[in-house]
């Protein structure tokens, strides 16, 4: 396959960026999208042009590093991470536009790399259960209902990639936040801190500059782990309970 790539190039956070066009040749449909970018970078290096910087690590869909807007869609046309997207999803001669995540709370660091440290700070504000090492009771001393444990697991599969924020017209991180609130809120161990957690995490979410949720649902459509929209309902319910209780 031969492709035309339009890629966002930006020297650093302080500089302004622009779209640049590159022709890339000899792409196999068995390549992953990131291997296609590797090929481009190898060609750029040969020509003496600086390679395109992009985030990636595990390349098996679980670390959450990859963060590309492909033809305007977070992670591209399939419901998966960019690293698991393959070139057979594109056609010969196509023009592909590649941008970094679009969100004010994720500033561009360089080219296609953004700063997602806001997610760490949201977790710091309460996305945990307070238990020091060594103080845990016997694991089976507190049974957890199976359906609740399964729901907790399903939403705990969030990889923190930020596609939900990038896809949201409001730049809201409500899906990310709702997934964590639901994960910890569904388990018996998460109950003691439940109200304080949601109040504190929502406050941090807002302070980071993420927008509000207006139930558009682009987040869940873009989510490579298919986190369902109802975690946002759970988030709102827990927040309502917490506010009523005076948190």
């Amino acid at each position: 396959m031969n492709l035309t790539l339009k890629i966002w190039r930006q020297k650093d956070a302080q500089s302004s960026g622009s779209m640049q066009s590159y022709a890339v040749e000899g792409i196999s449909e068995d390549m992953s999208f990131l291997e296609m970018l590797d090929t481009l970078n190898e060609q750029l290096n040969e020509r003496g042009e600086e390679p395109v910087a992009f985030d990636h690590d595990c390349r098996e869909g679980i670390c959450g590093s990859c963060d590309l807007m492909i033809n305007g869609q977070a992670h591209g046309p399939e419901v998966t991470t960019t690293c698991q997207l393959h070139m057979r999803s594109f056609s010969d001669g196509q023009t592909i536009t590649i941008e970094p995540w679009r969100a004010g709370a994720f500033p561009v660091v360089k080219d296609l790399i953004v700063d997602r440290s806001a997610f760490d700070r949201i977790i710091q504000s309460g996305g945990y259960i307070s238990v020091n090492t060594g103080s845990a009771p016997e694991a089976n001393s507190v049974p957890a209902p199976r359906d609740k444990a399964m729901r907790a697991f399903n939403v705990a599969t969030c990889i923190g990639c930020g596609a939900c924020v990038a896809a949201c017209p409001n730049g809201s991180a409500s899906l990310f936040l709702g997934a964590k609130i639901t994960h910890l809120g569904e388990l018996p161990q998460g109950q003691p801190e439940r109200m304080g957690r949601v109040a504190s995490m929502v406050a941090q979410h807002d302070a980071e500059g993420f927008g509000g949720c207006t139930n558009i649902g682009e987040c869940t459509a873009a989510c490579p782990k298919e986190i369902p929209l109802d975690v946002i309902s759970q988030l709102n319910k827990d927040l309502r309970d917490a506010l009523r209780a005076g948190y």
Binding site: S28, D55, R59, D120, V131, A139, Q189
Partner: protein, 675 residues
């Protein structure tokens, strides 16, 4: 010379090894004395850890905040240690190259985590987990360390559940278990196929809680490039801020390396793209011994290479071998045919043929090696990669006929989907193609029982050290070791060292600091100034091919010698023909890669020397010269029941081999058989 007599006076079940062969003669210098773990515990094996915890000195809570701990890496071992030491009140600085601690590669582990809880009442115990782990490691691990690992395994599950790790549960709401990796009890706890992810998020959240509490400071997008050793003690690191390019000095009372394994020396592996050996290799060059570097685990069920563009390999759970039948065509001319058109009598179900009693369920190393043998004979399938077709069929047609497609779908749905996404082929209709891939390294920096390297103040945990898995790791044991080290072992051993602190303040102008900083700066300047024509990636690929060919699933004296020569030539070309664009004072992924590849090249040479010296087959290390008449692995305990700990011999010098005898008082050595 130290004897192998157990210090506690217990009966020693094996004699001291006496090496007769010397294949690596000329490539190394033997150390005059045997290496002895000065912290080796005494007494009955079941009491050793309790005694050590009692004997290790405590640090007064008021003094803890005056003590600075640097931890490099935020996977299970590093993240858990940062959280626990932060909770204890120490002042922790945590470093990772990723943009968040949550992305460390522990996250990719699929299967599960072992613990001797005996919830199934099926006869499991601490001793049985210990026994299985030592045996699985082919009797090349330290028994005291492994027993401790088994002992703390139950506490790990308690801790993780309390943190909110959503393990699988049964209908009564209690924890579920499954069996794993050929053992006869069900002791594996799991969270569907994403156990590593859930455990890591637990450790990450515990660590972020300490960041909020102010005890842990996290430095993301930072890469450690040098360890600072002052008066013989590790006192800090030099790190590069990967965004600004700034070279930073971080000083501390103690340094912990939890930087993971070096499987990426093979270029293609199931490791993350960024996984590297730099932290441990830099420490090795500063004097830390590298132990058993040749012990590599190669996993049999990975998705095969599809072409030269391939950047990484994806693992599929071993459970597929429970129902899939592995075969290749009997005739080479059939290799390009549609497999569905190859009649039954022209198929070679080679594992069932060679190992009638275990069949497709032979251990990982055997399944991997036989797949390679078939492909080397020219009977591999799939696309040509280099001179061979590198793939064998894993066929579910029989299982689908026997159980029905729905039953197969229920068991393996997510794996079949993943396979189809990557290959574009539907495994319900066409047999899967699989091939082995490098997955884990058992070797790593040498540590004593306290997880301290031979450099005082430098501790090493998780996959980065060598201590628990011997020559082969059992499934679901990597997660166990990472968390055991991070939550329970290191916090109880490091305090004995820190009881002597805070150590004398080190000035940034100290010659040792200046030297470390200068060497980092000079290396970076060198990478950018070579001005050759090849990318770091292309050197990495070439190194990977050499390692895979000659230091992979089967190693021979002739091949290893050839590999050492080839790596030396590659190293010379790297330092004269490398091309790195961009600048040092900005985010520069090519520059990061160059540093990692430079270290992989040096490591690769040492791995080959280690493999050359060890003229026996054990666990993941198969030497062509050491096999039974049937082609099975043959161990030589009387020569090689020792840990090979290599000391850096200086630039252009020969590494020095220190041998630590393995002493068994609680388990008797036996040969494996799977026929």
């Amino acid at each position: 010379m130290a004897s192998t007599a157990d210090v506690s006076g217990l009966t020693v079940l094996n004699g001291p090894p006496e090496q007769r062969s010397d294949d690596a003669h000329g490539y190394y210098t033997p150390a005059p004395e045997k290496l002895v773990d000065a912290k080796a515990p005494t007494g009955l094996i079941k009491d050793r850890w309790t005694t050590r915890k009692m004997d290790n000195r405590l640090v007064n809570p008021a003094n803890r905040r005056k003590l600075d701990i640097i931890i490099v890496g935020t996977g299970l071992a590093g993240g858990a240690a940062a959280a626990t030491l932060g909770e204890a009140g120490y002042n922790v600085k945590s470093f990772c190259y990723q943009d968040s601690p949550r992305r460390a590669h522990s996250i990719a582990a699929q299967g599960g985590i072992n613990a001797a809880k005996n919830y199934k009442e099926d006869g499991d115990s601490t001793y049985r987990l210990f026994y299985d782990t030592v045996k699985g490691g082919d009797y090349r691990s330290r028994e005291s360390n492994v027993y401790r690992l088994a002992e703390v395994s139950a506490n790990i599950i308690d801790q993780c559940v309390a943190q909110g790790v959503p393990f699988a549960r049964d209908y009564g709401g209690l924890l579920d278990n499954r069996s794993f990796g050929g053992v006869q009890v069900s002791r594996t706890f799991y969270a569907r196929g994403q156990t590593g992810q859930q455990l890591l998020i637990g450790a990450y959240q515990a660590m972020e809680r300490q960041v909020a509490a102010g005890t842990v400071t996290q430095y993301t997008r930072h890469e450690m490039l040098e360890v600072i050793v002052v008066d013989g003690k590790a006192r800090g690191i030099i790190a590069r801020d990967l965004v600004t390019g700034e070279i930073e000095t971080h000083l501390a009372d103690v340094v912990v390396l939890a930087s993971g394994g070096y499987g990426n020396v093979f270029y293609l592996s199931t490791n993350a793209m960024g996984s590297n050996v730099t932290a441990t290799w830099r420490a090795h060059r500063k004097g830390a011994y590298m132990a058993n570097p040749c012990y590599t685990q190669i996993h049999p069920t990975c998705i095969p290479v599809s072409g030269d563009h391939q950047s990484k390999l994806t693992l599929m759970s071993e459970s597929l071998r429970n129902d899939g039948r592995i075969w290749v065509p009997k005739n080479k001319e059939d290799c390009t045919k549609d497999p569905r058109d190859i009649p039954e009598e022209d198929r070679d179900y080679y594992l069932e043929r060679i190992y009638p009693s275990f069949g497709n369920l032979v251990p990982r190393d055997i399944a991997s090696r036989q797949a390679k043998n078939m492909c080397d004979e020219g009977r591999g399938v799939g696309p040509m990669v280099g001179d061979f077709r590198r793939g064998v069929y894993l066929d579910f047609a029989d299982a689908i006929a026997r159980l029905g497609e729905d039953a197969v779908r229920e068991k393996y749905d997510n794996l079949f989907d993943m396979y189809e996404r990557i290959t574009g082929e539907n495994p319900y209709e066409v047999p899967m193609r699989i091939y082995p891939a490098v997955h884990y390294v058992m070797g790593g920096l040498w540590v004593d029982y306290d997880l301290q390297s031979n450099i005082p103040g430098l501790f090493v945990t998780g996959e980065a050290n060598f201590s628990d898995h011997g020559a082969n790791r059992l499934g679901a044991s990597a997660l166990m070791q990472g968390l055991a080290d991070g939550y329970f072992v290191l916090p109880n051993t490091i305090r004995d060292y820190l009881a002597d602190g805070p150590f004398e303040q080190v000035d940034e102008a100290h010659p040792a600091v200046v030297e470390a900083r200068t060497s980092v700066q000079e290396r970076i300047d060198k990478f950018l100034s070579i001005g050759g024509s090849r990318s770091a990636d292309s050197f990495h690929k070439e190194l990977g091919n050499i390692m895979w060919e000659y230091c992979g699933m089967e190693r021979s004296e002739e091949g290893l010698r050839k590999a050492i020569d080839m790596i030396r030539e590659l190293k010379a070309e790297f330092w004269s023909n490398l091309k790195v664009l961009g600048t040092a004072d900005s985010l520069n992924q090519s520059l990061e890669k160059a540093g990692r590849v430079a270290d992989f090249i040096e490591l690769g040479e040492l791995m080959c020397i280690d493999a050359l010296n060890r003229r026996e087959s054990c666990g993941g290390h198969f030497r062509a010269e050491s096999q039974t008449e049937d082609g099975e692995a043959l161990r030589h305990d009387e020569e090689f029941a020792y840990v090979a700990a290599w000391e850096f011999g200086g630039e252009g010098g020969q590494p020095v081999l220190h041998k630590e005898d393995l002493i068994y008082t609680a388990i008797e050595m036996k040969q494996r058989s799977y026929k």
